[in-house]
Structure formats: structure tokens, C-alpha cells
């Protein structure tokens, strides 16, 4: 196999008009940016032999908003809401990563109660993110119904968010040094009710899909990626775990309150689309377990650490990463001692995982590209930032 960057011409859409299907080494199809299955505005240029994929080239940047540059012109506090807009389906995780990174830079630690609240919300958000992934992924493969089931159940999570901080999607729930809001009355009850409610629903999704012959045929041995390739490409999150690598930052370098919880890291063996599905389903169940433990053990106490009114970290740099629903979400912050960061660099899991697309779909069919894009669980807001 040749490298797609050399086999594709620089301007892939500049096609030779006389070339057609039969000398199909050259059929180039432009998928996206307005394509229903590219999860936003991803543009994938596919080089096809008939329906077989010879190579892909992702064209990104349609949703670029310069989040990292904006950070340089905002104070640390002011930049906090911007991170919510990156991976907008897992906004809580983004905020957690940013806040913890800045806290690390400031050498403060959020109080235990804040850490527990953070864990609960982040895990709820993980479930919401996986639900949204499942719905859209299933829709890509042609199953309409799971989308509506998952959206129905995701709604319950968003309701809890709304009650907690007033926002549903871009929550802006955390502040540097802890949480802005104390939990509302009945928060624990709401969360426990949700756990009660959603556990059978996850079984319901599995009932629809896990043993469905068509689903299995469409996902087994599709988009296979080995553990070695994953590590070489820096792929993280469920994609990495489905390839059999037991790597989860919640265990590997616990943050928030994760070292207090007992949970397992589900892994797969084949690294195919089906395994990634299974891993994510198992992760949702593990998240439920974590939330239950967190709600049971949530300590009393303050929710904000002592943080100066004007955040002015000392000169230095920090890299902190967390396990976002999609993989390792890292923030690299350089401080020049002023109130504004000198440079913020985000390591978005979607962006890194997207690089594996070409490797995973070589030799597969067009329909598999759809399935693989779905299974990578990318959010273009995060890829383009």
C-alpha cells in the first residue's frame, strides 16, 4: 500500500474527465463537508477502486474558531467557558481538564466535595457522550431507532445538568479551584433515580444491536486497528482499549476523585468496530458504577479552594490530561506570569484518533468508511477547535 498523500494529487478534485468507473483506480469521491454521515463538517476525500477504498484524505478546519488563539487574549477565568465549545457533547470533561490544568499550574487543589461533584458530572457526561455516539453510529449503519432511544435517555442527564448549573450542553459547571455551585436539593436523589432509570435502557440498546446479525456483520472485522498501530498513532480512549490495551487515565494517573472508586477498564481484543461498540457499552455501565459510589460517598465540605481573585500563575508550563469520553484530553498551558496564558495547546482526542481513519479503512468499502468514522466518535468542534 502506498502512502495516500503521495498517491492523491495535491488537488484531488481536479479530475481527468475521461476517466470513469472502469479504469477506476482514479475514482475520487468527495464525502462531506455536507454529508449526513460525517458528523458535522468533516470532509473526507476518498480514492476508490469501484467501492474499495484505496486511500483517504481528511480535510478539516471547517469549524475552526481559533480556540487556542483566543486563550492568549483572555484571562484564565475568562477562557474557561470557551473550552466547553470544543467537544460540545462532552463539555463537562473539557472544563474539568482545563480547570485541573490551571489548578496544577497554580498549585492549588480542589476540595474533596468539589472533586466528587466533578467526578459525578463528568461520568454523567461520559454516559451522555456515549449515548449520542451510539445513536449517531447506529444511524450511520442504518438502524434508525437507537438514535431516538439514546436521545430520550440523554435528555435525563441534560436535565440534571440544567438543574445543577442552568445550562444543558455547554455547562460551564466548574471553576478554577472547584465548583461554582453547590448541589441543589435532591441532586443525589436525581442522580440515583437516573441510575435506576438508565441501567435497563442500556440493556435495551444492547438488545437492539449486540446480537443483531446485520449489526454484527457490519461491524465485526471492520476498521481493525492493532494495539501497536494505536500506540504509534497516539490513539487513545475506547479505540485504544478496544485494541486490547488496558490504558485509562482515570486509573493510570487518577485525577478528580477517581482513585477512591472501584471500577474496571473494559477492553476488547480485535480492535474492530464491534469491539469498540462493546467497550463503550461496558464503559457506560462502569460509569454508572462510579457514579453510584461517588453519590454514596460524597463528603461534606467546601466546594471552592482558596484561589486568588485574579489568577496570576507563576512563570512555567504544565501539561495535564484527563480521560475524556473520546480519549486523552490534554491541556498544555504556558504561563508568562501575567493574567493571560502565554499559550494554550489542547490535545484533542478526536483530532488524534481521526488520524487512524486512513489506516483503518484501507481496503474496506465505502460503507465501512461511514461505520469507521462513526466508531471513532469524533466531534468536529474538537478536531478543528
Amino acid at each position: 500500500m502506498t502512502d495516500p498523500t503521495t498517491t492523491l494529487s495535491r488537488n484531488p478534485l481536479d479530475l481527468d474527465e475521461s476517466r470513469t468507473f472502469l479504469d477506476a483506480n482514479e475514482l475520487v469521491i468527495n464525502m462531506g463537508p455536507q454529508h449526513p454521515a460525517t458528523h458535522g463538517v468533516l470532509r473526507v476525500i476518498l480514492k476508490l477502486d469501484g467501492e474499495k477504498v484505496l486511500g483517504t484524505e481528511c480535510v478539516i478546519g471547517y469549524l475552526h474558531r481559533g480556540v487556542e488563539k483566543i486563550a492568549e487574549n483572555r484571562t484564565y477565568t475568562m477562557f474557561n467557558p470557551y473550552v466547553d465549545r470544543m467537544d460540545y457533547v462532552a463539555a463537562v470533561s473539557n472544563a474539568l481538564g482545563y480547570c485541573e490544568a490551571v489548578e496544577k499550574l497554580l498549585n492549588v487543589e480542589a476540595p474533596p466535595r468539589a472533586r466528587y461533584i466533578r467526578s459525578i458530572l463528568t461520568e454523567l457526561n461520559r454516559i451522555a457522550s456515549h449515548q449520542l455516539w451510539l445513536g449517531t453510529h447506529a444511524l450511520d449503519i442504518g438502524a434508525m431507532t437507537p438514535l431516538f432511544y439514546t436521545f430520550r435517555d440523554r435528555e435525563e442527564i441534560l436535565k440534571i445538568f440544567e438543574k445543577y448549573c442552568g445550562a444543558r450542553l455547554t455547562t460551564h459547571a466548574f471553576r478554577i479551584g472547584g465548583c461554582q455551585y453547590e448541589t441543589y436539593d435532591g441532586f443525589e436523589k436525581d442522580v440515583l433515580n437516573f441510575l435506576q432509570f438508565v441501567a435497563p435502557k442500556i440493556d435495551e440498546y444492547e438488545e437492539l444491536l449486540t446480537t443483531n446479525r446485520i449489526w454484527v456483520e457490519r461491524t465485526k472485522n471492520i476498521g481493525v486497528i492493532s494495539a501497536k498501530d494505536c500506540i504509534a498513532l497516539g490513539v487513545t480512549g475506547p479505540v485504544l482499549r478496544a485494541s486490547g490495551v488496558k490504558w485509562d487515565l482515570r486509573k493510570a494517573q487518577p485525577y478528580a476523585a477517581y482513585k477512591d472508586f472501584d471500577f474496571e477498564i473494559p477492553i476488547g481484543q480485535n480492535g474492530d468496530t464491534y469491539d469498540r461498540y462493546i467497550v463503550r457499552m461496558a464503559e457506560m455501565r462502569q460509569s454508572l458504577r462510579i457514579i453510584r459510589q461517588a453519590v454514596d460517598a460524597i463528603p461534606e465540605g467546601p466546594i471552592m479552594a482558596k484561589v486568588p481573585k485574579v489568577i496570576k500563575p507563576a512563570v512555567g508550563e504544565i501539561y495535564h490530561s484527563i480521560e475524556a469520553p473520546k480519549g486523552e484530553l490534554g491541556y498544555f498551558i504556558v504561563s508568562d506570569g501575567s493574567t493571560q496564558p502565554y499559550r494554550v495547546r489542547v490535545r484533542p482526542p478526536s483530532f488524534v484518533n481521526l488520524q487512524a481513519l486512513d489506516l483503518m479503512v484501507r481496503g474496506a468499502l465505502v460503507a465501512d468508511v461511514i461505520a469507521v468514522i462513526g466508531t471513532l466518535d469524533i466531534v468536529l468542534g474538537e478536531v478543528d477547535r
Binding site: A143, M144, I214, A367
Partner: protein, 450 residues
Amino acid sequence: MLSYLQSYLGGDALTPGQAGNQLWALIYILVIFAGVSVVVMAMNWIERKALAHMQVRLGPMRVGPHGLLQPIADALKLMLKEDIIPARADSFVFWIAPLIGLLSAFTVYIVIPFGPTQAVTDMNIGILFMLGVSSLSVLGVVMAGWASNSNYPLIGALRSSAQMVSYEVAMGLAVVSAVLMTSVGGIGMYDVAGDGIGTLSMIGIVQAQQAQHVWFLFKFFPLGLIAFFIFAVAMIAETNRAPFDLPEAESELTAGFHTEYSGLRWSLFMLAEYAAMVAVSSIAVTLWLGGWLRPFPNALAGPTWDFIFSLFPGLTFLALGAIGMFGFVRMPAHPFFRVQKLGLGGFAAVLALIGVLLLAIPFAARGHEGTILAGFAAGLSAVYWFIAKVAVFMYLYIWYRATFPRYRFDQLMSVGWKVLLPIALAVLIATAAVGVLIPVIQVWFKGRAG
């Protein structure tokens, strides 16, 4: 003319086509055309509602009570929309492609027997005619894809032509095994002509099932069941519905072969698709589910049972009316809902009225055997049972769509060629073999006994 009409309504005449009565045939064609169009619109509404309720949502609710007028609004909208022909498209082929699809979908209705005489005509090659004409719809699809001069429609057209042609083979073999059953007498069964000759005529096939006292679904168990299953799978692939809706796979090819179509022309494709769904379901019903025959026409024979079963149409409409009434009662009494509430109540009342009328007919016809009224009641019952069976298939179509993911193209092909085709061939051979062997064994047993 009048005498024919009398004897026709009396129920003991030939179909209009066979009798050579062109005027009556024309009326029939118009009735069927209008009926199918209405059914397609109703199907549109039912599909959206049923699918919505399977997916925990409400579906159309705004246009009319419970969205009942939604199909009409949609049809109006589609008619008023601009009819776009892409600049570099082949405008003539682009123009004629949906018409080919529509024509092939509607032409098959000529031979569909809604009742013993309720068909436009009865051909002695009826089932072949249906298969042939419905296979012409591939042409419309291919031409639409080619004429759009765009990559997605072209791939969609290539896919669907390959798919429809492949599944036609398995479908045809399944049909042949059912046709074989018309001639093959089993234990305690005899064939319709009495001389071991089968029939390809749609009406003849149903009559054979009546004469043999068995739906072909259950004949030579499980051979009939397997053949039916093959047909049921192939017919979904033939009509490009989920889980075989690759030609219009939304997430892959945007909309497949009709990506470039808009407005009225697009709606013609939709009309053709739904009409084809009804048509192939009718084939399945005719071949394996006893067509217009009511359940247990022989085991529960006699005028009393006939009477009881002829009550079903009226009862169905009454039940529908009751559901409508339930909705009417449940609707809030707010003035905002007044029009909708009245509309729903009126709709339910009309349904109930039809139900009462349909109930009245068998009561009035009771004890007047041989009159026009009795013939009419019998015809009504036959048509009702036919439509009821087809309706089950239409519901299954919706159900599949809500449940299954979509096959990939190569998997679809391998299912067609490597699974369905060998099974269909095996079933065909087994049916023929069983049909030959059973009479031999019977004779042998009789010889032993005598």
C-alpha cells in the same frame, strides 16, 4: 352490459378483462389507480406514525388531528416545489425515468386478484407477467441514476440495479416452487384442474389453494414456509426497503439514485416505491397466504361461518372509529384544539358510519343467497381479507425499518447469491420431488391395502 354487470355483482362471472368488457375494465383500472394512490398516501401517514411510536416520538401532529392531513399537505408541497433538472443532466432520460418506475409499479395491479372476480383481468401467465413488469422498475432506477450526471446517483443506480437483478433470481425460484404446488396433489389433496397441470394464473393459484384445502405457506411443511421466507426477504430487497435500502442509503449516498430529483418527480419515485411494496406484498399473499380466502374456508365452511367472517370488515371499521373516538375524547377541550377535535371526531364518525354500513350489508344479505346483494357481500368479504393480509406485510415493512441496521453492499450480494439462491433451488427441487413421490407412495399404500 347491464346483464353482465348484474351477473358480475352477483359474483359468478369472469373478471372484466376476461369477459372482454372494456368499459367495466376501464372503470376498474381507474378505481384501482385511485385506490392505490390513496393507499400510498395513507401508508405514508401510517408509516410515519408507527415508526414514530416505535421510536418514542409522536410523528406528524400539526397538520390536521394527529397529522391526518399531513400526506395531503406533503403532496401539495411536492407539487408546488420547483422541478429542478441539473444543468448537465440528460433531460429527456431524466424526465422519463420516474415515469418508467411508476408505470411498472402500477401495471402489475392489472392481474392482482382482490377477490375471485375482483381483478382487472386474469391472465394465464399472471404471475410471470407480474414478475416481468415489476422487473422493469430497474430500468427507471438505472436511468434516473445515469441521467442525473452525478456520482452519488450513479453509484446508487449501479447498486440498486445489481441488487434488484440478483434478488429477482431468488424471488423467481421461490415463486416457481409455489407454482409447482398448484399442480402437485398431496395427501388428501387434489389439484384444481384434476389432471396434474398447474397454473400460472393468479386467480387459479388461489383457487388451487382453496381446492387443496391448504395455504401454500403450510403445504409440504416446511418447504412452503421456506419458499415464502425467501420471497419475503427478496421482496424487501426488490423494493429497496430497509434493511436492504442501499440504493438510497442516506448515510452513504445521500439519497441514492434520486438525489438530484425534486418536487413532483421525486414524489413519483416515492409513489412508485410504495405502490411496488403493495404489489409485491400482494404477490406474496396470493401465492402463499391464500389470497382473498378468509381463514379456514373449508374447515369452518357453511353459510353461518361465512356470515360470521363477513362481519369482519364492518367490525374493523368500527374499531378504527372507536380508536378515533378515543382520541377525540382525550383531546383537551381548549378552544385552541377545537377545529382539530371536531375534525378527528368527524373522521371517527365517518369511519364508524362506514363500519355500520359494512355491517349492515351481510345482515341484509343473509338468507338471500344468489342475489346481487349476497354476491356483493361475498366480494366485500374477499377484498377485505386480501387487503387485511397485505396490510400485515405493510406493517412488517415499517417494523423492519425501525429494527434493522443496513446491510453493506457486498454482504447484501452474498446473502442473495450464496444464501437465498441455493436454498431457493433446493426448495424447488425438494418441492418437485415431494410432489412426485407422494402420489407414488399413496398408490403404493392403496395397492398394499387393496
